[in-house]
C-alpha cells in the first residue's frame, strides 16, 4: 500500500513532483504514465527514499517513509521489489547468486535459499540459465532474473521503472504477463512506462502525471488522449512514432 499526501519534491528550482496526493491499494496494478521529465522517476525515488521529499507525507507498507532515518532504508527496500529498465544485476554473480543475494541480506538459511531460488527461476522460465552470468543472457532473460530477484522475498509492492524499455515488443509482452501473474498472487504493482500499446491492452488503473502534477487517474484506463498536434505528428508518414510500439 502506497499513500502520498500533498507531496512536493523540488530539485533546486526544478519541479520534480508538486503537491501530489494519491493512494494505491494493496493488490492494485497501476501504470504511471506521462511525458519525459513529468516526474515519474521522482515518484518512484520518493517511495524508495532515494530522494527526500520537501513537503507532505509518504507511507509505504505501513512505514512512514518521510519519518524514517537513513539506517532504516534497507528495511524499507526489503519490503519492496524493484525492477529497472537497465536490469541492474550484479555482473560478478551468476543468475542464481543474483537471486539468492536478495535472500542472503535477510539472513535466510541457505537450505531455504537452495529450495526457493530454483522455484522462482522456474516460474520466470529461466531455470536453464541459473549458472550463467548476466552478460551471457538476452535482455529479456536478464529482466526475468531481475524480476525473480524482486519477488523472491514476496514483497507486498513491486515497483518497475520502464521495465520493458529495453525490450522488443514480444519480449515486453511476455514480461507483462509475468507481472500480471505476480499481481494475481496479491502483490501490488506500480509500473512506470511509455508503452502506450501495453497500457491500452492491459486495461489497468492509469495515473497520468505531467509537470509534476497528477492530471488523470483512471480505473480500467488507457494510455490517454493525445492532443491533436501530437496525433498528427505521430501519424505523419515516417515520423518517430510511425509504428505501434507506442
Amino acid at each position: 500500500m502506497i499513500i502520498f499526501e500533498n507531496v512536493t519534491k523540488m530539485y533546486d528550482g526544478n519541479i520534480g513532483i508538486e503537491n501530489v496526493t494519491v493512494k494505491i491499494d494493496k493488490g492494485d496494478f497501476v501504470f504511471l504514465v506521462g511525458p519525459s521529465g513529468a516526474g515519474k522517476s521522482t515518484f518512484v525515488k520518493l517511495i524508495l527514499k532515494e530522494v527526500d521529499g520537501d513537503k507532505g507525507r509518504i507511507r509505504v507498507n505501513g512505514m512512514d517513509v518521510t519519518g524514517i532515518s537513513n539506517r532504516q532504508i534497507p528495511r524499507l527496500r526489503r519490503s519492496i521489489g524493484i525492477v529497472f529498465q537497465d536490469f541492474r544485476l550484479l555482473p560478478n554473480k551468476t543468475v542464481e547468486e543474483n537471486v539468492a543475494f536478495a535472500m542472503e541480506i535477510l539472513h535466510i538459511s541457505s537450505r531455504t535459499i537452495r529450495r526457493n531460488v530454483p522455484q522462482v527461476l522456474g516460474l520466470m522460465g529461466i531455470s536453464s540459465k541459473s549458472k550463467k552470468y548476466p552478460h551471457e543472457l538476452s535482455a529479456g532473460e536478464q529482466q526475468r532474473v531481475a524480476i525473480a530477484r524482486a519477488v523472491i522475498n514476496n514483497p507486498t509492492v513491486l515497483i518497475a521503472d520502464e521495465p520493458t524499455g529495453n525490450l522488443d515488443p514480444d519480449t515486453a509482452w511476455e514480461i507483462m504477463q509475468l507481472l500480471e501473474q505476480i499481481n494475481r498472487r496479491g502483490t501490488t504493482i506500480l509500473m512506470v512506462t511509455h508503452a502506450k500499446d501495453i497500457v491500452d491492452r492491459m486495461g489497468k488503473r492509469v495515473i497520468a502525471i505531467d509537470k509534476g502534477k497528477i492530471v488523470r487517474d483512471d480505473r480500467d484506463g488507457s494510455y490517454g488522449y493525445e492532443s491533436e498536434e501530437a496525433y498528427s505528428f505521430r501519424c505523419k508518414p515516417g515520423g518517430v512514432f510511425d509504428n505501434n510500439v507506442y
Partner: protein, 298 residues
C-alpha cells in the same frame, strides 16, 4: 545470525578475490612490496641493535696484560685492590693458556690458523668488568698505577665511534620506515579505492535490493583483511629468503672478524610474521573501510 553473517562475508570475499583477480593482485602487490622494503629495514635495525649490544658487552671489559715476571700471587693482590675501585664489577685472572682456549673457541672451525704458533704468544692477564662505560677511564687510571703490568687494552674510542655510527643508521632506517608507511598507506588506500570505484555500481545495486551497510562492507572488509594477511605471509617469505642469502654471504666470515653474529633467522621469522600479519591486516581493513566510506553514506 552474526556468525552466519561472518561466514557469508568470508565466503563472498573469497569468491570476489578470485573473480576480481587483477584488482586483488594489484592490492596484493602493493602491500607486499611495501612490507618487503619495510621488512628489510626492520632487519637492518634489529641487526644494528644486536651489533651495538654485543659491542657494548664486549667492550665493557678492560684487559690488563701482566709482565712476564708477575706471578699468580702478585696478580691476586692486584685483583684485590682493583675490586675495591669504583666502577669495577668484577676482576679475575686469565692465564695465557685460558686466553688461547678462548681464541680457539671464538674462531671455531678456523682455529687451525692458531696452530701455526710454536709457543703461546699471549700474556697472562687480568680481566676487569666495569659496571658503567662512563667509569671506564677512571678504572683504567687506577690500573695504570699498579706494579708489574705490561699493557692495558681498552677500546673506549672504538666503542664511541661504533655507537655513533649505529645511532645514525638506526635513525635513518627509522625515518625511512615511517615515510614508507605513510606512502604505502596512500598507495594501498588508492588501490582499494580503485577496486571500490570499479564496483560502485555493484554497491548501489546492493543498496536497491535492501542490503545494509555492514552486509555490503563485510565482504570488502574481509577481502581487504585476506589480501593483507596473504601479503604479509608472502613478504615474510621474501624477506626470509633475502636474509638467508645475505647471511650465507656475510654471516660466517666477515662478521666473525668483528666477533658479532647476525640475529638468528628463526627469531626474526617468528617476530616478523607476527608484526607483518598485524600490519597487513590493519592496512587491508582500514584501507577498505576508508575507501568505501563515501559509497555507504546514505
Amino acid at each position: 545470525m552474526f556468525i552466519r553473517g561472518i561466514g557469508n562475508a568470508v565466503k563472498l570475499a573469497f569468491v570476489q578475490i578470485v573473480r576480481n583477480r587483477a584488482m586483488s593482485f594489484a592490492s596484493l602487490f602493493s602491500i607486499t612490496a611495501m612490507l618487503l622494503v619495510l621488512g628489510l629495514f626492520f632487519i637492518l635495525i634489529v641487526n644494528v641493535n644486536m651489533v651495538t649490544e654485543s659491542a657494548k658487552k664486549q667492550f665493557d671489559t678492560i684487559q690488563i696484560y701482566l709482565a712476564e715476571e708477575t706471578d699468580r700471587t702478585d696478580a691476586q693482590r692486584m685483583i684485590q685492590s682493583l675490586s675495591g675501585t669504583k666502577g669495577v664489577a668484577k676482576a679475575w685472572y686469565l692465564s695465557k693458556e685460558e686466553a688461547m682456549d678462548e681464541y680457539r673457541q671464538k674462531w671455531g672451525d678456523k682455529s687451525y690458523l692458531l696452530d701455526g704458533f710454536q709457543e703461546n704468544p699471549l700474556p697472562n692477564s687480568i680481566r676487569v668488568k666495569i659496571t658503567d662505560l662512563e667509569l671506564a677511564d677512571s678504572v683504567v687510571e687506577a690500573a695504570k698505577k699498579l706494579e708489574g703490568i705490561e699493557d692495558i687494552k681498552y677500546y673506549r674510542t672504538a666503542v664511541d665511534k661504533l655507537l655513533a655510527v649505529t645511532g645514525y643508521i638506526k635513525t635513518g632506517a627509522l625515518a625511512v620506515i615511517i615515510s614508507l608507511i605513510a606512502v604505502s598507506v596512500v598507495v594501498v588506500a588508492n588501490t582499494i579505492k580503485l577496486t571500490v570505484l570499479a564496483r560502485a555500481r555493484e554497491i548501489s545495486i546492493m543498496k536497491y535490493v535492501g542490503a545494509g551497510n555492514w552486509f555490503i562492507r563485510g565482504p570488502f572488509l574481509v577481502e581487504g583483511i585476506l589480501i593483507g594477511l596473504f601479503s604479509s605471509v608472502v613478504s615474510v617469505l621474501l624477506v626470509g629468503l633475502i636474509y638467508h642469502k645475505l647471511a650465507e654471504l656475510f654471516g660466517n666470515d666477515i662478521l666473525l672478524i668483528f666477533s658479532v653474529v647476525m640475529v638468528p633467522e628463526s627469531f626474526l621469522a617468528a617476530n616478523l610474521l607476527r608484526i607483518f600479519m598485524a600490519l597487513g591486516v590493519s592496512i587491508g581493513a582500514f584501507g577498505s573501510i576508508i575507501s568505501m566510506r563515501r559509497f555507504l553514506d546514505t
